[in-house]
Symmetry: C2
C-alpha cells in the first residue's frame, strides 16, 4: 500500500455531495481496487453554512477554490463548481500550476478552454480527467479514448442532454406544450441556472465538442458545432413525427470527412423503434462507430447525484492506480485544427411552416423547393387557423446547403407567416 491519495473538492452541489458520500461509504472497496487509501483533505463551496446532509467537519474548509487547488496536502483537485469562466477556470489553472492532477465534471470549461488547459497540464506531466463531463454515469470518455484506442473513429452520435429528452418525451406522453414542460422542468430543478444551456443545445454541444476532440484527434472546437435548440419544437411537430413513425430527439453527430469536421447538435426525427428513438426521459445514449469495432452503443443515466459522482470517482480511481495518458487521448500540442464543415450527406427533411392564407401560397413554396433542386415527398395543409394556414412538408433526400437556399427563397416569396421549422430526418 502506497501513500494515501488526497483530494481537494471544490463545489458541494449535488455531484460534490455525491462524491463525498461515495469516497466515505466505499473507502474499503476503493482501497482494495486501487491499492491506495483515498482521502478528502479539504473542500470548498460558496456557502459554508449550508446543511448538505453530510458531515464536512473532518475536512479543512477553504472559502476560496483557488487556495484549495494550491494546497500542499492535496494530490488531486476535484472541480465540481461548473461554468467555463471565473472560479472554476482560475482554480483549475491554479491546480495545474501547483502540480495537481484535475478531475472535473465541467463540460463548459473543457469545451471552451480544453486545449489550453490540456497543454498546460501535459507540459507538467499532469492529467485532467473528465468522465463526468459527458453523458453522466456512462463511461464514454473511457470507452472512446482507451477501449477503442485501436480504432480510427468514423462517427460519434448521441442524445446527451437529459433535460431536453425529458421535455420532448413528456410532450409526447402528456400531450403538453413546450412552454408548460419547460416550466415544469424548471420547478423540478432539471434546468441549468441559464436554461438556454439546456434547451438551446449548448450543454449537449459542449459534450459533443469534447467527444469529437478525442474521436478525431482535433482541437476542441465548440464554435464549430452547428447548434440548434428545442425551443421551437411544438406539440404539433411531436404529433406529426409520431404519425410518420418518428420521434424528435436533440441528436448530436460528429464525423470527419475530406471537407473537415462536421459537428451538429440539433433536434432530428429518428425512427420510433430505433434505439435512439426509444430513449425516454433523462437517459443518455452515445453511439460510437470505428473502422474495426463497427458500432458500440452505450446507454445510461445522463445526470443525477449517483451516476455523475460514479464517473468522478472512476476518474479518481484511475489516477490512484497511476494511469497517465494525454487529456484528449493524444498529446494536446499535436491535435489538428480541422475546419468546421456542414453536412454533405443528404437526408430527408421535415418542414413545418405557416403560410398566409391566400391562393397560390403553397405553390410558391413548392416552387422555391423545386428551384433549389429539392423534391417533395409529401406536403399537406393540415387545418386552417386564419389568417394563416399551417403546412407540413417532407422532402426527399437533400443537403443542408440546398435546403438553406430553399429556405432563403421561401422567405423571399412573401407567403411565409413564420420562419419554418426544419428538422433533419435521421434513419439511423
Amino acid at each position: 500500500m502506497t501513500e494515501p491519495l488526497r483530494l481537494g473538492i471544490a463545489g458541494l452541489g449535488t455531484v460534490g455531495v455525491g462524491v463525498v458520500r461515495i469516497i466515505r461509504k466505499q473507502a474499503a472497496l476503493l482501497a482494495r481496487r486501487t491499492g491506495r487509501e483515498i482521502v478528502i483533505s479539504a473542500v470548498s463551496a460558496r456557502d459554508a453554512g449550508k446543511d448538505r446532509g453530510i458531515n464536512l467537519a473532518p475536512f479543512v474548509w477553504e472559502q476560496d477554490a483557488v487556495a484549495l487547488a494550491s494546497r500542499d496536502d492535496i494530490d488531486i483537485f476535484v472541480e465540481l463548481m461548473g461554468g467555463s469562466e471565473g472560479a472554476a477556470k482560475d482554480a483549475t489553472e491554479a491546480a495545474i500550476a501547483a502540480g495537481k492532477h484535475v478531475v472535473t465534471a465541467n463540460k463548459a470549461l473543457l469545451a471552451i478552454h480544453g486545449q489550453a488547459l490540456a497543454e498546460a497540464a501535459e507540459a507538467k506531466g499532469l492529467m485532467i480527467r473528465f468522465e463526468a463531463a459527458v453523458a453522466g454515469g456512462i463511461p464514454v470518455v473511457k470507452a472512446l479514448s482507451e477501449g477503442l484506442a485501436g480504432n480510427e473513429i468514423t462517427r460519434v452520435m448521441g442524445v446527451m442532454n437529459g433535460t431536453c429528452n425529458y421535455i420532448l418525451t413528456r410532450m409526447e406522453s402528456e400531450g403538453a406544450g413546450y412552454d408548460t414542460l419547460f416550466e415544469e422542468a424548471g420547478k423540478l430543478g432539471y434546468l441549468e441556472a441559464d436554461p438556454n444551456l439546456d434547451v438551446g443545445g449548448i450543454d449537449a454541444g459542449h459534450k459533443l465538442a469534447i467527444l469529437s476532440a478525442i474521436a478525431f484527434g482535433t482541437r476542441v472546437n465548440f464554435a464549430g458545432v452547428e447548434l440548434e435548440g428545442i425551443q421551437r419544437i411544438e406539440l404539433e411537430d411531436i404529433r406529426q413525427a409520431a404519425d410518420m413513425g418518428y420521434r424528435i430527439k436533440l441528436l448530436g453527430l460528429a464525423q470527419r470527412s475530406a471537407r473537415g469536421l462536421e459537428q451538429r447538435m440539433q433536434p432530428c426525427l429518428v425512427p420510433t423503434g430505433s434505439p435512439l428513438g426509444q430513449l425516454t426521459g433523462g437517459t443518455n445514449m452515445v453511439v460510437i462507430e470505428g473502422d474495426a469495432v463497427e458500432q458500440i452503443v452505450l446507454r445510461g443515466p445522463g445526470a443525477g447525484e449517483g451516476p455523475t459522482a460514479s464517473a468522478v470517482v472512476g476518474d479518481i480511481c484511475d489516477l490512484a492506480r497511476g494511469l497517465r495518458m494525454p487529456v484528449f487521448g493524444q498529446p494536446a500540442a499535436g491535435l489538428s485544427q480541422a475546419p468546421a464543415a456542414r453536412s454533405g450527406l443528404p437526408a430527408p427533411y421535415y418542414l413545418r411552416m405557416a403560410l398566409v392564407d391566400k391562393p397560390g401560397a403553397l405553390a410558391r413554396i413548392a416552387a422555391a423547393l423545386g428551384e433549389s433542386g429539392i423534391s417533395i415527398d409529401r406536403m399537406r395543409q393540415y387545418g386552417h387557423c386564419e389568417p394563416t394556414a399551417p403546412v407540413l412538408i417532407v422532402t426527399h433526400k437533400t443537403t443542408r446547403e440546398a435546403l438553406d437556399l430553399a429556405l432563403e427563397a421561401m422567405a423571399g416569396t412573401g407567403v411565409l407567416a413564420s420562419t419554418p421549422v426544419a428538422l433533419r430526418i435521421e434513419n439511423l
Copy 2:
C-alpha cells in the same frame, strides 16, 4: 517517445490476423495515442504455410507458442489460440514466468485458470488483460473494472453468445427449427470446434464467470454457474413466447446476495420490446447495475475479426500507456470465495411438456404444481399429436427451488411423455 513496445502474437486465426492488420494499418495513430511505437516481433501458429492474406515475413516465426512467450525480444505475449488447456495455458504460464504481460481473448482459460494465472502475474507485477474475452468489441471489462470502480456492483446481466442469439433470432424470423439452423450456423463457421461450447451455454458461462469476479470481488467460479443451453428450445417455444409478447434469449445474470453468488446462464423469456428482447443476430448486450450509477447498458458486436481485434489492441494500448492494475480489478490473492447460490428471487416460469394422452393427465400436473405451492397463471393444451398431448403452462411467480420440487413431483405422476422445458420469464 520511449522504447517501442514489442509484441509476440500466438494464434493467427481470425482474431490474430485482425490484430496484425490493425497494428500495421494504424501504426502512426497508435504511436500518437500511446506515446510508443507498437511493433510485432514474433508470431506463432499451428500452420506456418497457410496463406492468411497478410504478410508475415517481417516477423520471426516461432513454431512453438511456449518458445514465443519466453523470447527476449517481446514485452507482451498476445495469446489468441484459445482453449483452456494445452498450448494456450502452457504459453501463458511461460510468458508470466518470463516476466511478460499477457493480452488474451481466451475466456475458457480465464474461466478455468484465471485465479492461478492472476496470482502468478500479480506476484511478478505483471498484467493479464482480456477485454476481447468478453462480449467481443464491447469495452465491458474496462467499464466494469475501471469506469465503474466507484460502485458496489449489484447485478450484471447480458446476452453474450452471438451464435445462440443468431440461432434464436433466425428461428423466429425464418420459422425454421433448431436443428436446421444449428446446421446452418455450422456451415457459416459460426460454431466453435466443439459446438456445445456455444449452444450449451458454456462459452457464455465462461464470460459471465469472468465478469462476476470483477463485479463482486470473488474468485472466478465457472463451476458455480447454473448452466443451460438452447438445444431443447423448439420453434413451438419461440412461437408461444412471441404470442405472449416475449422472445427467448440465452441470458446471463450474476448477483451477490446474503445467500452467496448467484450466476446463471440459461434461456429465458424477455419482453419483445425490451432492449434485450430487441437484440437480434450476433449482437451482444451487457447490463451493469451499481449502487451509484444505477444502470449502464453496453451493446455491440460480440464477435468477428474487427471487433475482437479492436478489444485486443485496446488492451495493448493500455499496457503501452503504462496502465497497471490487478487482473480482476482487485488483488487476486484477496478475492473472496462466495458460495454458489441458486436464485432466491421468484419469477414466473414458462413450462412446455408432452403428456400421455389420457384422462386426468393435466389434472395430475396441475396438482403437482399446486402441492409445491405454485399457482398457475395459464395452462393450455394446444393440439393433439397422438399418443401425446402438448401442454403449455405459465406459472405465477415462484422460486427455482419450488419449481424443481414441482418438476420432480410431475416426473413421479407417470403422465409426462417428455421432460418439461422450463424457462424463467424475466420482465427486465
